[in-house]
Amino acid sequence: MISEKKTGYRKNFSLILTFIVLMSVLFCLSLYLAYNFSKKYIENEFVSEKVNVLEQSIKPYNDFFQKKLPEVSYYNGYLDSATAASFVDTVLLEYPFVSKVVFYDSEVKNTPVSDGLNTGKFSFGPKDIYQFGSLIPQDSVLLFSRENTRNFIVGDDFNTLALKLASYIESLDTTKVPDQDELFSNFSNVRSNKITYLNIPRMEELKVYKQMLRNVLDPQPVYQQDMMCFHLDPYKIKIINSRPLLYQFIKIQPSTYDPLDTSQAYLSTEITLPGAFSDYKLYFISSKSFVDKEIRSYFLPIAMAILVFYGIVVLVAFLIYRNLNINQRMFKLQYDFVNNLTHEFKTPVSVIKIAGNNIKSATVLTDRELKLYGKILDEEADKLNGLMNKLLAFTQIENKAIQLNRDEIYIEDFIESTVESHRLKHPDFDFTFEVSGFSTFVTDPVLLGSLFDNLAENAYKYSPPERKKLHISARLIKGRVVFRFTDHGIGIPSSEINNIFKKFFRIQNQYNQNGSVGLGLAFCKELVNFMKGEITVKSKVNKGTEFKIVLPYND
């Protein structure tokens, strides 16, 4: 490839290699960074996602607290054991973390009670106490009644909330309407694993209660109040693991739970439960290998994306390389063409030059010599002219710069004249032809003639001297004109058959050492295309070649 250096055309493999290497380094680096990022991200998730788990797991509790608890008030003190039992049943069914409900069917009145709260003239005590729960036997539902007071425990949930009620009524401002949150907090008591709730009476009743603190009203009013104490079991909270791939185990543990054996192989975190469960926490634990799995599953799509990106870059590099290669081959073809053309032009020019020199140096020229030189000059000038015409016509057709003429020709006469002209040129050329199906044909005779000349010239050129034969057939098949040019020449190797219609392509062999530029078949193809036809070739090496031209039949 000496010529490449000269023309400044270079192919730098090391540049491409450097590019590939740099890209690969970048690829590896990004994979590494992506992995580290995934790891950090998942570790952060492990700590932050616990809030979501808590939120979802505690939702039933919030629901219970905000929706179900106030339902006790809906009954406005009219709850009795049967209604309370059915209410509690719905609670136990809907909220499994409620383990037991103690119902205090109570009264507010002016007469002191023995069990309950007496402050001033205001008395608040239970009539009956019931307990409900899935594990409570029928005979122990009723805990307390006026006849049987033994199960009333001083200082239990009832008295705590009763005291709260009494102090609230004491400080109640009767001139303004208390807001709902204030009422809720004063009529409920949230303790560890226990919520006590007293139905919120209307403002009217609260005002009467306030009066009852100081005065005995006449007639003595009796107001019904329902208190319910919900015993909660934190271990019954249904944990909703929204990230099962992140948290291997989630457990409810007392706030003080802190195991010693948390080794390096485990990741753990915790979050405290709200409200009545505040003595407990959600404890999250996952083995490192479990978390690694999650890291990998997070990393994988990122790695895939990087890989795809890298693949595309490599593909683009390859395509650029391929284009460069093709361009280089094109360049070589054109270079060869210039070489050939120079050579082609050189022969007639040198002949003209020799003839010119001879004429110049000769003192006298005989008539014969004069005729000979005249003939030589004329022929060589024709050759040059022909070469230039061919080059010009090709360029014109390629650029579609000429117009298609439409003349009616007699096909037999047309072939006859072609054959005639070639016989004149090459007396050893054996021509045969046949026509069937049609006699006249509308086409551009100049272009068709040029096509015939080229193909005939090729057939002559690429045939060994003893087999310079050409058979032309013209047929009308299915409304199309089909020409076949069959010779017995050297044939075309099948590896080259796809290239023969390319510009400047020549098969290197003994038959085209001079006078060939590799334009002939490319020119033919352009012509056929221009005439809206098709050209195909079939060939066997050393047997012969058949060109088939299909042209539209315009009658």
């Binding site: 905000q66 929706k67 106030p70 339902e71 008030s73 809906y74 009954y75 406005n76 003190g77 009219y78 009795d80 049967a82 209604t83 059915s86 309407v177 709902q180 009422l183 919120i200 009476p201 209307r202 403002m203 009217e204 009743e205 006449d218 007639p219 009013p221």
Partner: protein, 631 residues
């Protein structure tokens, strides 16, 4: 020039749009026009027939005026700002008693006496002394007034003789604790009392004031026994409206010595007598009012018939009602109305047979723009005839229209034919308004009324649904555009419909609706303790009927409600628990149910709260527009 053309074109476009709106329906009447409060209300004639008094709206106060009929000279008696005269009446030719409002929500008021010149004003009762009711609006011995008051005990009313000159009160009869009503004879003697033990009412009678009351008959709470007056010549016989031993009330004479019914003056199985008028001057029954699809009169005295006939001649095709009269029964205050006209007040002089117009009830309403209220009836699924009223929007074909079902409020009440601003407002907005006197409504007899007891969310709901089915079958209703709206218990029905009958109603609206029957029972105030048993009967006993009550209390049923709701509550209403409605709305919003929630301070008192009324109906109109009409 081109610019002008452009503007002219724009003008044409806007004009065409403006015209389009009017097509296919009546003029859209501004909503405030429907609910305009009257300027002058509560006309009364003085006993001597020389003066006429009325309450006049002045900014946010109602003040008492007296007008001399002959000269037309008016005098302002009270000078209230931001306060209303709650109620007033003449006690003599010269004196009036009026109640000054203290707390409208609790209906608390102070009573004053004043003479027609505006002088000699004295306070008769103070709010702290409890409520005071006047039993007999005529002065005895020119200075005593018979009143009942709960000043001794807020839960019982004793009878006092109130000296209007110095405000002194002597107890005339002490209430043993269970008397809920007292009745005087023509001389103002206390001779009849009504007691109750919660489940039944007992009539107590005495022949002389000094004697003890003796029980003469006991009735259950759905039986009407309303003493009207003592018969003049036979002091032991009373006229009474009674449904004892019959389904519908009739006017009867009862012997108080035996408690036996002597004869039926008027009444039959098809009509229900609601009122009877006794003429003190003529000392006989003058006429009675009964309800069929509308109120009608039956005359027991020809002289009163002549007056009404004359009124019919002067005011043809109009319902008339006597609001007040003088002692001589010559000067009358008349109120007129039709279904399409809110009516006017007139002064009628019987001797001259002449009318003088006092004022219009609502001058903004034009009769031609109002819709006719048609009485309709259908048969419920269990074969009961249910009556109702249908109001169609004007100028549209009565097919496939959006419907607003309007169940009336309350136990023991009903819808009646007449002008109803709410109905006309909805009809003007293009809705068919369907009022149904579901079972439990009054006016159709005891059986019909008791058929509705404890049927909230049950058979009452079926009646409403059957009415809707009937309306769909008649092709009037568009089955996809049926809404329901009600106030109080009507609101309860509307909200119940949203979950008991999913699929029938597109939306439901409630104004101060009863969302919790338990809370409703709690709201019965201490001095109405005697009626608690009665309400247990109607609404349900919270201990034995808890399941049914829960089923018909929307508050418990938020999980099942899925249609758009409009909920308005009066936050000042001490009888409801504002927190419950808030909780109700909150629970619905959590489930992403479309709820329009509105708070106001009550639109019970038409004279006030123009603004909150406007806000309420604008919101309701908008709600119905998006969720019903344009669905």
């Amino acid at each position: 020039m081109i610019v002008y053309k452009k503007y002219f074109f724009l003008f044409l476009i806007s004009l065409s749009f403006a015209c389009q709106q009017k097509e296919g329906g009546a003029r859209l009447i501004p909503l405030d026009d429907f609910f305009k409060s009257q300027e002058k209300i509560t006309y009364r004639v003085s006993p001597d027939g020389l003066n006429i008094s009325y309450l006049k709206q002045e900014d946010s106060a109602l003040n008492l005026y007296v007008e001399d009929i002959a000269s037309g000279k008016t005098r302002k008696l009270t000078n209230l700002k931001d306060k209303n005269v709650f109620f007033y009446f003449w006690v003599s030719n010269n004196d009036l008693i009026y109640y000054k409002e203290i707390d409208p929500a609790k209906r608390r008021s102070d009573a004053f006496i004043i003479n027609k010149e505006g002088a000699n004003e004295r306070q008769l009762s103070r709010n702290e002394q409890g409520k005071m009711r006047v039993l007999e609006d005529q002065l005895i011995d020119d200075k005593f007034l018979l009143v009942s008051s709960n000043k001794r005990d807020s839960t019982v009313f004793d009878v006092y003789r109130l000296n209007v000159r110095n405000g002194a009160m002597d107890m005339a009869a002490k209430n043993p604790g269970n008397i809920i009503d007292w009745k005087t004879d023509s001389e103002g003697k206390l001779r009849l009392a009504v007691s109750t033990d919660g489940g039944t009412t007992t009539m107590l009678y005495r022949a002389q004031e000094g004697q003890v009351f003796k029980p003469i008959m006991t009735n259950n709470l759905i039986t009407t026994f309303k003493p009207v007056a003592f018969k003049h010549d036979r002091p032991n016989i009373i006229y009474a409206i009674s449904s004892v031993n019959r389904d519908k009330s009739a006017l009867v004479e009862v012997d108080c010595n035996t408690g036996k019914e002597l004869k039926v003056l008027f009444g039959n199985d098809t009509l229900n007598i609601t009122e009877a008028q006794y003429s003190r001057k003529k000392q006989k029954m003058s006429f009675l009012t009964y309800e069929t699809w509308k109120k009608e009169k039956h005359y027991l005295d020809d002289s009163i018939k002549i007056i009404y006939d004359d009124l019919d001649r002067l005011l043809p095709k109009t319902e008339t009602q006597i609001l007040s009269r003088d002692k001589a029964e010559n000067v009358f205050v008349i109120r007129t109305f039709t279904d399409r006209n809110p009516g006017s007040y007139y002064l009628y002089f019987a001797d001259k047979r002449k009318l003088r117009k006092l004022s219009d009830f609502n001058s903004a309403i034009r009769e031609g723009e109002m819709s006719e209220m048609k009485a309709v009836s259908f048969t419920s699924r269990d074969g009961l005839k249910i009556n109702g009223y249908l109001t169609l929007p004007l100028h549209v074909r009565a097919t496939h229209l959006p419907v607003v079902v309007l169940p009336h409020d309350g136990t023991a009440s009903r819808d009646l034919w007449g002008y109803n601003a709410e109905v006309q407002f909805l009809a003007n907005r293009g809705y068919v308004v369907f009022q149904i006197n579901y079972r439990g409504s009054s006016g159709y007899g005891k059986n019909f009324m008791s058929a509705g007891f404890k049927e909230w969310g049950g058979k009452i709901q079926n009646d409403i649904n059957d009415g809707v089915a009937w309306l769909i079958e008649k092709k009037i209703a568009d089955p996809k555009r049926i809404g329901i709206y009600g106030t109080g218990f009507g609101g309860n029905i509307a909200l119940n419909s949203s979950y008991l009958n999913p699929g029938i109603y597109a939306c439901a609206a409630s104004n101060s609706g009863v969302i919790n029957l338990f809370a409703y029972l709690k709201s019965i105030p201490p001095y109405l303790k005697t009626s608690l048993q009665f309400y247990y009967g109607i609404v349900g006993n919270p201990l034995t009927d808890a399941d049914q009550m829960r089923k018909s209390s929307p508050l418990f049923q938020t999980e099942k409600i899925n249609i758009p709701l409009f909920v308005c509550q009066n936050v000042k209403d001490q009888n409801t628990n504002a927190g419950e409605t808030l909780q109700f709305v909150k629970n619905l919003k959590k489930r992403n149910v479309k709820v329009t929630y509105l708070e106001n301070e009550g639109i019970l008192f038409l004279a006030k709260n123009q603004e909150s009324r406007h806000q309420f109906y604008t919101a309701l109109e908008q709600f119905l527009e998006t969720n019903l009409k344009n669905r």
